[in-house]
């Protein structure tokens, strides 16, 4: 029993990271119908931004919460800026073209970020400084959690709640929802569609940056290709939950994280990556629109 509970804790922490990345995919898809394949690489950029930021302010040598928070804010701001630039220079020029051009552009941006990362950061893995000193907390029944895992959970929940607040309760959020329904109608109502799209990209990139830094904190090895697999799986998580649906992305991320950990723990670690895709196929067979997605008839 304690083994199962421990695996559950492992799965939920890992799943909440997928959820954070999946939110970015889902938001961009919801508004633009674009699968932003570069999203996983923004996650990598987030980890590296945090790496350089913590070096710069010396957060690794004498860890304290204020410095850690500062690193966090810098990483999110850096990736927000990166998201802005990518949208402005890569996606905006092809927005009027076919959806396929946008998809190919996204793959191009992803490769650019990965290989650019190798060029700038080097191919060798780096070790993320311990900006939060790890210690164990026993939950009883032999189940352990570290303060870093707790931080991952808490920050994820906080960011997801903040996102929900923005989307449901603010004017910008209302505009986002309007744009997601219909670009033209939203524009006719006086909404600046371009600005809303940019805002969505910045927001999604910031969430990915947060995920990158949280993971680096817990598993301190970072390298330019670290975003590929988590990016793919978060995309699967977003589809699993119903792409375009925000609570769906969170649910999909959690299902994915838990399923993966259980497969490694009870079946075989070799199937770790395969399970994501098997799960996707099964769920799409049963519910083609995803767990929480609504089936919408395609306009022809």
């Amino acid at each position: 029993m304690s083994e199962f509970l421990q695996q559950l804790v492992n799965g939920i922490t890992w799943g909440s990271v997928y959820a954070l990345i999946a939110l970015g995919y889902t938001m961009v898809y919801g508004i633009l119908r674009l699968i932003n394949f570069a999203h996983g690489d923004i996650y990598m950029l987030g980890a590296f931004a945090a790496f350089y930021a913590s070096r710069w302010i010396g957060a690794g040598t004498d860890p304290n919460p204020a410095k850690a928070l500062l690193v966090f804010v810098i990483a999110m701001a850096a990736c927000g800026a990166a998201g802005f630039l990518i949208e402005r220079f890569a996606y905006k020029p092809v927005r009027k073209s076919s959806r396929l051009s946008a998809l190919i552009t996204a793959i191009g941006v992803s490769l650019l970020l990965e290989n650019g990362g190798v060029l700038v950061f080097g191919a060798a893995p780096r070790f993320f400084p311990q900006i939060v000193t790890p210690h164990n907390i026993s939950l009883g029944m032999g189940v352990n959690i570290t303060n870093q895992q707790l931080i991952i959970l808490a920050v994820s929940v906080l960011l997801m709640a903040a996102l929900r607040f923005i989307v449901i309760n603010t004017r910008v959020g209302k505009a986002m929802r309007a744009v997601s329904y219909n670009h033209t109608a939203a524009a006719l109502m006086g909404i600046s569609v371009d600005r809303i799209i940019t805002f969505t990209f910045v927001l999604g990139s910031m969430l990915a940056a947060a995920a990158g830094m949280l993971v680096a904190l817990q598993n301190p090895r970072i390298e330019p290709y670290m975003g590929i697999m988590p990016g793919l799986k978060a995309f699967v998580a977003a589809v699993l939950g119903g792409i375009g649906n925000i609570p769906g992305a969170v649910l999909g991320g959690l299902v994915m994280g838990i399923a993966e950990v259980m497969v490694v723990g009870y079946v075989s670690p070799t199937y770790r990556d395969a399970i994501a895709f098997v799960l996707l196929i099964i769920i799409l067979l049963v519910r083609p629109a995803g767990l929480l997605g609504k089936h919408v008839a395609e306009k022809v």
Partner: protein, 403 residues
């Protein structure tokens, strides 16, 4: 759609011209001895490649002081290639060394999977390849042109099994191996066979793939079986992370491993979590042997910091090769002339590398910094292993086990 190649004859002309220019590069015509070296200068375990390169460089420096960097009157030059820690890439760069640079011998690799990817190419081209530190037995089984400077895993596995069973008095051990590494899978088998033979039990065997970040699910499953120690026959990058995560899950038992742990980055990654761990290795820097101590001094002076065993083995590999080349010059100067770059691709070269191979194969009692090297009929070195224990963030010599 049809391809209209015929309408653009100039494309073909350019391609043809380019291929002529490039093929003209082979056999530079210079009178020199070119040795190839490949390793993971980047990738998942970059200290392996870097240390190998440093070791070979130091051997070249020594050649410089003793004979102006020349053997038999010809200057020695090395060409170093980075395989990025990937077996496919290792095959590519060694193919390049062998066919384009036409090297007379190749030094590399550390990881057995990468040595295994490159060895058939050297064997096919009849170019001797000396792996300084691949311990999987399959590496030299590829063919008679493949050598190594270190002990092999059946011995290394036995050493750690005995250390666990006899020195530490343990009965129940769990194993966490890297399924994608020939080294890790082989060592797992040799360790468990030896450990079971002396009356121990393997209570759990879990696996991961190099490059993984999260080992908690496997460690949680291991924890449930309550082992007295965990044997982790992997490479240092993952081992450091595994150690941290094991401690975070409340697993406090000792961790044991093999020479894949050997890197100065191990302690940097694993930190305090590695205290109480132990692993088998090729040498210990606190060994008072004068040859080793003089190597240490030169290494520290040139690169700063202590060498790891990987650097020591690469230094020995280069010296064994240089010595064999020197012997060939003394015994058969006519054949030796075939090693010169100007003879690349000729029959004289083929005869020369075959004779060079025969001389490497007869290496006996070579005084290396990692111990005396005598190659057996399977082209493996039979040498003692040391066990290093990690205490208070430092590697400390624990014991030596003779073969």
């Amino acid at each position: 759609m049809t391809l209209r190649m015929g309408s653009r004859p100039w494309v073909l002309t350019i391609l043809l011209g380019a291929s002529l220019v490039f093929s003209g590069c082979a056999g530079s015509g210079k009178e020199e001895l070119v040795v190839g070296e490949y390793g993971s200068l980047t990738g998942n375990d970059p200290t392996f490649g870097q240390s190998t390169k440093n070791g070979v460089e130091l051997a070249l420096d020594e050649l410089m002081t003793t004979s102006q960097g020349k053997i038999g009157g010809l200057p020695v030059r090395t060409i170093v290639e980075d395989d990025q820690g990937r077996p496919e890439e290792a095959a590519t760069v060694v193919q390049k060394l062998v066919t384009q640079d036409q090297v007379i011998a190749v030094i590399g690799e550390v990881a057995s999977s990468r040595s295994l990817a490159a060895a058939p190419i050297c064997q096919e081209a009849m170019v001797p390849m000396i792996s300084p530190s691949s311990t999987n037995p399959k590496v030299t089984e590829v063919g008679d042109f493949i050598f190594r400077m270190c002990f092999i895993d059946p011995f290394q596995g036995t050493v750690m099994a005995k250390y666990a069973g006899e020195n530490l008095q343990l009965k129940q051990i769990a194993i966490l191996k890297d399924v994608r590494s020939d080294y890790s899978v082989g060592l797992t088998k040799f360790f468990s066979d030896a450990f079971v033979a002396i009356g121990g039990t393997i209570v759990e065997e879990q696996a991961y793939s190099a490059g993984d970040q999260d080992f908690r699910p496997q460690l949680t499953a291991i924890k449930a079986k309550k082992p007295q120690a965990i044997f982790i026959p992997g490479y240092y990058t993952e081992v450091g992370l595994i150690a941290r995560q094991a401690r975070e899950l409340g697993l406090t038992v000792p961790l044991l491993g093999g020479d894949g742990w050997e890197s100065d980055q191990l302690l940097q990654i694993g930190g305090e979590a590695l205290n109480g761990a132990a692993y088998s290795n090729h040498f210990a820097v606190d060994n008072p042997d004068p040859r080793l101590q003089s190597f240490l001094q030169k290494y520290r002076a040139k690169f700063g910091g202590d060498p790891d065993a990987i650097a020591g083995l690469a230094f020995d590999a280069a010296n064994v090769l240089f010595q064999s080349m020197q012997k060939l010059y003394e015994q058969d100067p006519k054949a030796f002339a075939g090693l010169s770059s100007s003879k690349a691709g000729s029959d004289a070269r083929k005869e020369a590398t075959r004779k060079l191979r025969d001389l490497i194969a007869t290496t006996t009692n070579f005084p290396g910094v990692t111990g005396n090297i005598t190659l057996d009929e399977h082209r493996n070195a039979s040498k003692p292993a040391v066990v290093l224990a990690i205490k208070d963030g430092k590697k400390v010599y624990d014991t030596t086990v003779a073969p």
